[in-house]
Symmetry: C2
């Protein structure tokens, strides 16, 4: 087991990474809890829920709330239902919520914990590769029909327990989605990790376990380091949005779930790299990245998206202020920079990207 | 104008108290805002909304969202609608929300601000006496059908602007409701204020303006002092719950709006005083307080409440943990103490209180 500590204004917390940690949850908690609510989804529940339940051996009351798997569950209605369930089961301010699952479960259950009686303890137990990113840093939220993560909060977990065995059962599409965030961390902060991944990965189906653990640990370290500097997303944390401005717009425009989050971000990074080359007149490893995207079977043809819809959506992105579109670009590898772009400037580049680049 | 500074972990903020401050809002803000959303209710909107809108003279976009007056508006549906309205109007992370109204507006608009894009600036402009209390300290929330303020957060405003002219138009029932919290502050922290109010107030209809300003300023000072010591309600802030355990239960059992919040708390304090005398074998000014309640026309006959319902509701109160009922009692004036009581102990005292004391 490897442990990384994340220091935030409110408290520091450990991120434990290792195999079989779900069987040891009880010993990894910061204190004893009499009542525990595990929130998970229909997929993860079938696989690991019993292991976690049985890890509680001291007679704690353990309740379970299962949401339908998928981004669609990250809505106000599920939020309300979990609150109601918690009240019915008598959860109080000393109770614990466990988010067992991917980003959707983590964001939703975390936001419930953040607002239940004005905030109770919760821990993240990510079970996807994508969630190596979302489980660290305390961003919790639900979606609004008009935009992703529009209603939420910053609320740090008490502990993150990342059992690497739980990602072994992931469908390949989930692995692919998650690796987009790993590559993102590499682009903005670790060129060695970037070239290692671009060169050594052969397919999403068979990733060398050593390489995987190295990549995830580095990803969490990079994320933690940034969160520590800027917990409330007012400075360097924006860099983590690399690829996300177009990515979020694509997810919203195509309907959540058509592309996975990571697939959308992978395309968003591709676009951001091209914009970066254009704006800063530099050269970035766009071709090796394109080659990697193809080799790894990322969906690159996004069909008939409406250019103006994407522009509008990019403007409503939480990171945008005053109607301009803010994107994270790279002045070089490991050198991200937030840039404000005018509609027209972006429209042209996006038109070329969609009608040229993406249909190659 | 008098200014009290409240220091919290996140930031310090001023509470401005004085006459005509609504005309000077712009100059009292911490910085310029391009977009402003004023949330108010149908009563307050008719009276003071235009004054506040016209106080913005620099071409800011000022939007208005009006909720129906009353506790019923503090629900998840209004919460969602204000979010939608904000997104439609293009509010971004640099925008400001103004809560213009009483506690309902402040709690609801504050919780929207706390969660809009994970938190934007807001200011409180209380227009009731009750809100002298609720506008300071950053407790924001909405109600759940199973309990008051069950979904919420701690999120401090950037400024509180308390225009004493806005309370001159209050219906007497609102004045009465608000004075319960003033008396509460006196019981837990200022015996001189307590005896001044008990002795010098003749009716709720005609309160000496000097006495009113003195009482409100002291109330805010007491509240601020407690919030600074315990922002997240884990210690001394519990003392502010004096009278609220039974108060909340009464509001919920009778249906929100049957009794005002303050009327319910006034009864709750009466009960808490009797329990205090009983538990600590001491003597408190219960009779002068009863006499004051009657002179001030507080509703003291609460009809056919169900004892067991009240007990159950007191157990679901956010302050309760592990099924016991926690109440704030007084070991003496200015000496509050949180005490855990067993069902049975409380049931007996509550039975006597309801069937004896309350029908005198």
């Amino acid at each position: 087991m490897k442990t990384i500590t994340v220091g935030t204004d409110d408290h520091s917390y450990p991120v434990h990474i290792g195999k079989g940690l779900r069987f040891r949850v009880e010993s990894l908690l910061p204190r004893d809890y009499q009542k525990v609510l595990i929130v998970t989804d229909s997929n993860v529940g079938n696989l690991y829920l019993n292991d976690v339940i049985h890890a509680f051996t001291k007679g704690q009351q353990v309740h379970v709330y299962i949401i339908p798997a998928g981004e669609q569950s990250k809505n106000l209605s599920e939020f309300e239902h979990i609150h109601t369930f918690g009240i019915e089961k008598g959860l109080d301010r000393k109770s614990l919520i466990i988010a067992l699952g991917g980003g959707v479960v983590g964001d939703l259950a975390g936001f419930v914990a953040a607002t239940y009686m004005r905030g109770i303890d919760y821990i993240q137990m990510p079970t996807t590769i994508l969630a190596h990113d979302s489980s660290v840093g305390g961003k919790v939220a639900i979606n609004h029909p008009r935009g992703k993560n529009m209603i939420g909060q910053f609320y740090q977990p008490k502990t993150v327990i990342y059992d690497l065995e739980t990602i072994e059962s992931l469908p390949v599409r989930e692995v692919r989605s998650g690796f987009a965030e790993v590559i993102k961390h590499a682009f903005i902060a670790d060129r060695q990790l970037l070239f290692t991944l671009l060169q050594e990965m052969e397919s999403m189906e068979h990733i060398d376990p050593g390489l995987l653990q190295y990549a995830l640990t580095r990803g969490i370290e990079i994320k933690s380091h940034i969160v520590e500097q800027d917990e409330r997303d007012q400075g360097v944390r924006h860099f983590l949005n690399f690829g996300h401005t177009l990515g979020h717009a694509l997810e919203s425009e195509l309907g959540y779930g058509t592309l996975t989050h990571g697939e959308a971000v992978a395309i968003g990074m591709w676009f951001a790299l091209k914009v970066s080359e254009n704006i800063f007149s530099i050269s970035l490893p766009v071709k090796p990245y394109e080659y990697w995207l193809q080799k790894m079977d990322y969906p690159l043809n996004i069909g008939n998206v409406k250019l103006e819809h994407l522009i509008d959506l990019m403007k409503t992105d939480k990171k945008s202020t005053g109607g301009q579109i803010r994107m994270v670009l790279l002045k070089d590898l490991e050198l991200p920079k937030v840039v404000s772009l005018h509609d027209e400037e972006l429209r042209q580049m996006l038109r070329i990207f969609i009608h040229g680049g993406m249909k190659e």
